[in-house]
Amino acid sequence: MSALIFSPRAAPAQRLDLSPLIPQNLAGRSAAEIASLELQTTRVRVTAGDAFRIRMGDPGAIVIEGGAERFDRVGAGMSSGSIRVEGDVGVEAGRRMSGGQLTICGDAGPFAGSGMKGGALDIEGDAGERLGAPLSGETVGMSGGVLHVRGDAGERAGDRLRRGFILIEGGAGAYAGSRMIAGTLAIGGEAEELPGYLMGRGTIMLGRGATLLSPTFGDCGEYELVAARLLAGYVAQASAKLADLFRRPLTRLAGDLAALGKGEILIPRA
């Protein structure tokens, strides 16, 4: 069975909430039922049928043919199947997703993968600020799954990360991995100032270091860690480039010693 395809009719006139268009919500619905799902975020009603030409197919494999910065909450809450967006998306892509595969072929806005619990989120372009991070008032960010960004990420990527992997092949903005609870954040390029700010536990890989490292991280020396071999093997499933970083001799910085201090920043030998 071929994919269920949503083809945008025009650039959206308002921000749209695409979170209803996830596999577990579309399974068993007719074309008319899917077309009548409401996506508006203002008082002007917009249905899926208004925004997209819909070609029925397997609701477990959804394709959105084209993106827009106003497509918010794409794949939010998805638990299975796959969604592929052939373009950019707005805020909160893959928020609280617990399974399945969400692929964004373009850039993602702020809070991509916010609070995600499982599954795989693949962003082929850049990600906005607070990748995987909690919204205001929430205590925990991403708690499972693999979030892979091919480009750069904005500020505070991996804020309050608790479990799972955030893999950024490019650079990251300031305060990457701030307040990390645990989990693993790997940055292939350079990080801007103060990565790991107030992190308690967890691992941050800085492929090319940072513009400014906090003095509250203690240099523990350079090692070839067995744990890094295991990490390399796991990361290699998503990114060979980032996996290679874990195979080099690694300088281990313990911190943030201004907080719990049981986390680490790893910097590979150049």
Binding site: R163, A182, T184, R201, T203, Y223, L225, V226, A227, R229, L230, L231, G233, Y234, K262, E264
Partner: protein, 303 residues
Amino acid sequence: MREMTVNGVAIDDTFAEAFDMRATALVITAPSARWAAQAAQTMTGFATSVIGCGCEAALESVRSPQETPDGRPGVRVLMFAVSTAELQRQLQNRVGQCVLTSPGSACYAGIDAGDDKLKLGDAIRFFGDGWQIAKRLGPRRYWRIPVMDGEFVCESTTYLTKKAVGGGNLIIMGESPAKTLAASEAAAQAMRKVADVIMPFPGGIARSGSKVGSKYKGAIASTNDRYCPTLKGAVDSDLSPEIGSVLEIVIDGLTSDAVANAMRAGLAAIVEMGPEKGALRVGAGNYGGKLGRHHYHLKDLIP
């Protein structure tokens, strides 16, 4: 007892009687194959019989770097005990004292599925005194415990199988100690190529087969006088005059099929060697068939 003869080696029409056991497996890695083997040998050194050691354990196979979780040389160890609680106790004591302590070692689950889980790193992690770090990679979770040469990495749990079998055996009888040992060594070597089995006695071979009970109070087992050649003329011996030495190979396996395969391989090696260089006769140990659920008839295993 009726006998069959294959390539000049007499094979008793009898069977080995074996028991249900609980078992687990580990993969131990190290910077070199020598140190992986060293950790495994230390851990399994005093693990020949559940009667006195609490468990039966041995090195099952050598693993190449491509076959281990961390890409370093490794070995696989199997461990058998009579209860889950005893297996757990033996596992954490032995890993804690012998693998954790071995330079450069790391320790992983050696079976991917089973009836229950045993604590591995989850029991050892407290050695880290708060500095231990957990890493979850997909379905697997590892502990990193800081030690004086770096970190000891240990998977959090391993699986337990309740389908394991302990006590498969061959009794090898020959004209002289040297010939009997030669046949036994050939059999043990052939059995080591079989997956999922161990021969827990020294080099895989036991010279002190036992019978149940004793004339002395408090001893639950004693020497198997019917198979002691020096008592041939004194007791109701099972040995004919030409038998001058007897050795036994005991086999524990993760499955009953694995035990049968090992016995088949061992029997084939003994028969191939023939009576001139090796054994005159092969038998097997049982308790009349009433104690153990698994019976391996030699006539079904003849090559």
